[in-house]
């Protein structure tokens, strides 16, 4: 039994693991992948370059890393927690990792806004394009368009361009200029952003504010997108549509925290900066459930350095050690900054006017906008009842991808987005049948 089981080997999880190990505690870090760093520090196997990545590996060498472990549930058993995992995909097996405390550092994934043609091969999330590049060294051949909203679009576009990708332009739906310059002081803290911008200029990649990809075209794969200028509420400015030939679209509208384990454990959720739910935590990263801590993007999307601070705080709290004051002030600063960044790049509801009747909203079950609308007119009031009447969100991903959009389409309360997924990862029925006592 470990003093702490960390779920997620990203910046938050590894920072917590390091602090607990520093104070003599025992730690296991479970992660679906096979390297430390999470999505942020994703790298090609064997290519451990840079101080930060080396530091992550140094921590990994001091704690028990459980790679290839997908957590399907966390069970409370008296004063301890059983973290139940499916190990591997080729020959799945079960594993239970037990601890007296659990840290949820499960991160976030791209928030998905549907539009016509978005299900075509060649359309991928910004995070997906980034993962292919950083993890696989792959720059898709052909012309690339980057679109959506948020500062994350910049590293994606700059990374692809620097690696030889033919990036035709970045389309940022918001018009962040003025808001961001007022944040100039803090902006410096993510100085990379400036670097990305100049790299884009160097690669002659245009940055277009107030514009979005409102449709994707192609038969069996992407061949073109329609770009349009947007009103303040993100409706298409009449006459502004134009077609751009391209082979790949990387699109991202911010991030959605992975909350299902927190929800299943009964942790209190609260509205984050965008109004969507995040895990509510104390100043030392305690959730409302004793023994359960949360750090990083699950408590509100804030980026890697903020996640690392939160992880360190959680590590101190787990070991009952008073954290250095700079951690607390650093976290407070990071939170304020993250809040301002998140509110500077909102998703406006005008995207709903981009949809056509046959636009796929739920990718798993191929439920279209007219299907969702039909459910709403039959008496569905939120993502859960839409699911029952249309199957949107009932498939493999359990609404992780479409939940945000479905809920917005029927005007549901953002806090009612269904995160209730008692089985957080698919596992073979045969393994479930043989699960042991905690």
């Amino acid at each position: 039994m470990y003093d702490l089981v960390v779920i997620g080997a990203g910046p938050a999880g590894m920072a917590a693991a390091e602090v607990v190990a520093d104070h003599g505690g025992t730690v296991a870090v479970v992660d679906a992948g096979d390297q430390p760093g999470g999505q942020f520090h994703r790298h090609r196997p064997g290519e451990v370059h840079g101080r930060r990545l080396e530091a992550l590996y140094a921590v990994a060498a001091r704690v028990d890393m459980r790679y290839g472990h997908r957590v399907w549930t966390v069970e409370r058993a008296g004063d301890r927690f059983a973290v139940r995992c499916v190990v591997g995909q080729r020959e799945p097996a079960s594993a239970v990792v037990s601890g007296r405390a659990v840290l949820l550092a499960t991160g976030a994934h791209d928030r998905v806004v549907p539009f016509p043609g978005a299900d075509l091969p060649g359309v991928m999330t910004a995070g997906g394009a980034q993962a292919l590049l950083k993890g696989g060294g792959v720059v898709p051949s052909g012309r690339i368009v980057v679109a959506g909203t948020g500062v994350f679009l910049l590293p994606v576009a700059a990374g692809l361009a620097a690696a030889g990708g033919r990036v035709r332009g970045v389309y940022e739906a918001n018009r962040p200029g003025r808001r961001l310059s007022s944040m100039a002081g803090e902006w410096g803290r993510i100085a990379e952003a400036g670097g990305y911008a100049s790299r884009l200029v160097r690669h002659r990649v245009g940055f277009h504010r107030g514009q979005a990809v409102v449709a994707a075209h192609g038969r069996d794969r992407l061949t073109a997108v329609t770009v349009a200028r947007l009103t303040a509420n993100w409706r298409v400015v009449p006459g502004s549509r134009r077609r751009i030939e391209c082979d790949v679209l990387a699109v991202g509208y911010g991030f959605t925290p992975q909350l299902e384990l927190a929800e299943a454990l009964g942790c209190r959720l609260e509205p984050g900066a965008s109004g969507d739910p995040v895990v509510a935590v104390s100043a030392t990263q305690r959730t409302s459930v004793p023994g359960v801590y949360a750090a990083g993007e699950v408590t509100g999307v804030g980026g890697a350095s903020s996640a690392e601070l939160e992880g360190r705080l959680a590590g101190h709290a787990v070991m009952g050690v008073r954290p250095p004051g700079r951690l607390l002030t650093g976290r407070a600063q990071a939170r304020r900054f993250a809040y301002r960044l998140e509110t500077a790049f909102p998703v406006r509801d005008g995207w709903r006017s981009w949809l056509t009747d046959d636009t796929v909203v739920c990718r798993c079950e191929s439920v279209t906008w007219s299907g969702v609308r039909g459910a709403a007119s039959a008496g569905a009031v939120d993502a859960r009842t839409v699911k029952l009447l249309s199957r949107a969100g009932m498939g493999y991903c359990q609404g992780r991808v479409c939940g945000y959009a479905v809920n917005r389409l029927v005007g549901g309360d953002p806090m009612s987005v269904p995160v209730r997924r008692p089985i957080a990862q698919p596992l073979p029925l045969g393994l479930l049948a043989e699960e042991g006592e905690p």
């Binding site: 069970e75 009964g266 079950e365 008496g379 009031v381 009447l389 493999y396 073979p428 049948a433």
Partner: protein, 380 residues
């Protein structure tokens, strides 16, 4: 809004499958019906149901009579208001040993005498190619069927005489000086109406209390497992019934495994557990394991199929295992339709039809005496 509320003959509380069926048959009888629902259509027990229409699991008696009527009515509804994935797929009950088979035969004999169609199956693999080998035998019930409960509720509510108001929570009755219900108060204002039918599933007991009536309906949790979509491999609703004898004497019962079934959309449903734990939604791993092992024991090929989802729902549990259908013991103009426990979807059509007959002053086509809400008061 006030005009809209004028002239409601029947106000149904609850847009689950029972409320929808009551509303549907009342509207067909010419009543102007308004359905008020605190959340959305099928957001309670109905949304968590598997859609089992079963006669196979019922022993002869009033509930079986109700089920047989309901089977007939659902078949009709599948023609008149289609679109809820109705499948007359039949149920297959199997057993592993000769004692179980003897008990199953006895039950089937009694059911046949009560009007159930039963066919004995010597080798269950003839009907279900993927079922485990070595079973002692089984009984096929062609009348067992399946539907998608949330869609059924939505389809039944789609009638010109029915208005649906979601997001409305009923808080209590409005009564006349003579003690008749003439309306309800809600979180969204009051409604005037001729009659009120409480069809609030597991919440009916709580709601009845707000109307001054004691209705001992409590939540009984069920958990259902859902697999990833697979090509059709299970044809019937399949479960095991094994004889469990009480060593001490003459009491005997059939203990059944979870029902395993395919769906038109691909996933296999496995359900359900029965636990009285109040309104607790947290699903214990033991419940999931029980369902999984029951399913794999019946269909070994399912072992490799991933489970992608599990959900909990709350059945309206009635202490004598019979539904509650009929007029309120005290309040004139108040009606109840609840307490179906795990059979609410199956029994909804008959429940709706019979209650609509009662509300409109006709003689119900099936005697409602065994289901009368008075019975709990008589017992105390």
């Amino acid at each position: 809004m006030a005009e809209e509320r004028y002239g409601i003959d029947l106000l149904v509380v609850g847009a689950g499958v029972v409320g929808a069926a009551v509303a549907h048959y009342a509207a067909r009888a010419g009543l102007r019906v308004t359905v008020v629902e605190q959340a959305g259509v099928a957001s309670g027990s109905t949304g968590a149901g598997e859609g089992n229409l079963l006669v196979s699991d019922k022993t002869p008696g009033p509930e079986l009579d109700l089920a047989l009527l309901s089977m007939r009515l659902w078949t009709e509804l599948a023609q008149t208001v289609p679109g809820f994935e109705y499948e007359a797929k039949g149920g297959l009950v199997v057993t592993g040993d000769d004692t179980g088979l003897a008990a199953l035969r006895r039950l089937a004999g009694a059911q046949r005498a009560a009007g159930v169609t039963v066919t004995e199956v010597a080798d269950p693999t003839d009907c279900e190619p993927h079922i485990r080998t070595g079973l002692a035998g089984g009984v096929l019930y062609p009348q067992d069927a399946q539907l998608m409960p949330a869609l059924a509720a939505a389809r039944l509510l789609d009638h010109p005489f029915i208005r649906l108001h979601t997001g409305v929570t009923v808080t209590g009755p409005i009564t006349s000086r003579r003690g008749r219900v003439v309306g309800v108060t809600t979180t969204e204002g009051h409604y005037s109406c001729g009659n009120v039918a409480i069809c609030a599933g597991a919440a009916s007991g709580r709601l009845a209390a707000a109307f001054g009536t004691r209705l001992p309906i409590t939540p009984r949790r069920g958990v259902v497992l859902v697999t990833a979509p697979v090509p059709p491999m299970i044809r019937h609703k399949v479960y095991t019934a094994d004889y469990v004898g009480d060593v001490a004497g003459d009491t005997a019962a059939l203990a059944s495994s979870p029902v395993v079934e395919g769906t038109p959309s691909g996933p296999v449903l496995i359900g359900a557990t029965r636990e009285s734990v109040g309104w607790d939604r947290a699903i214990p791993v033991t419940a999931l394991r029980t369902l999984a092992s029951g399913a794999v024991a019946l269909f070994p090929a399912l072992a490799a199929v991933p489970v992608i989802r599990a959900y909990a729902g709350f059945r309206p549990f009635s202490p004598d295992h019979l539904p509650v259908i009929g007029p309120d013991p005290e309040l004139v103009g108040l009606w109840h339709a609840t307490g179906h426990e795990g059979a609410g979807v199956g029994l909804a059509a008959a429940t709706g039809s019979l209650l609509a007959q009662a509300v409109t002053g006709r003689t119900p086509s099936l005697d409602l005496t065994p289901f009368r809400p008075h019975r709990f008061q008589e017992a105390t």
